[in-house]
Symmetry: C2
Subunit: 114 residues, 2 copies
């Protein structure tokens, strides 16, 4: 956990463009944005991958999606639309092993999703 | 709601290749798969878009992600990896207005995610 870059963002040990924060989650701009709006929403608690989520964390996962909804509204993309993505492990290209929801919007997204 | 194709799948009024079902959700193969594993996971309750989710549905959203995890494990892609996607409204290409989580895996996914 001490080496986790996202835990360091949670702890404000390294900077990020934080767009939202509450007791459970932090949201900040992706440093390599793939769309006009590209925000990462993470739990403050360190959870390495989606495979590690357990039943008692269901509300936390729902909270992450609700925060995505809230940010989409604040950024003015809720009606046009947005995509949310969780990547798990190598085949999906997960690069930081602290779960993070990608919120992408502000442009037309294509299909397939990668 | 009566015209919702996914409600009809929930009610078994139209067929689908159902891979998992419990009291809250149904999961079935996408009819236009974009990866060797491409499953849609939906709540039985009709919720049109991510914009319509409210706080009391956080656990339901978490349950949808937990079912994705479970199916990934059963399909043997949990360790290699998988991507989960929610599309909201036109910019994301949402085509059925009953929320559905895409679970994709069995191949290397690319970036950006569409």
């Amino acid at each position: 956990m001490n080496d986790c870059i996202f835990c360091k963002i949670v702890d404000k040990e390294i900077p990020a463009e934080i767009v939202y924060e509450n007791e459970e989650v932090v949201a900040f701009n992706d440093i390599n944005p793939q769309a006009p709006v590209h925000v990462l929403i993470i739990p403050k608690k360190h959870i390495p991958t989606l495979n590690n989520i357990v039943g008692e964390q269901k509300k936390l996962i729902g909270e992450i999606l609700l925060v995505a909804q809230k940010i989409a509204r604040e950024k003015g993309i809720a009606e046009r639309g947005y995509r949310t993505v969780f990547n798990c492990n190598a085949d999906a290209g997960q690069d930081v092993f602290h779960i993070h929801l990608h919120l992408l919007g502000g442009r037309k997204m294509t299909w397939p999703p990668g």
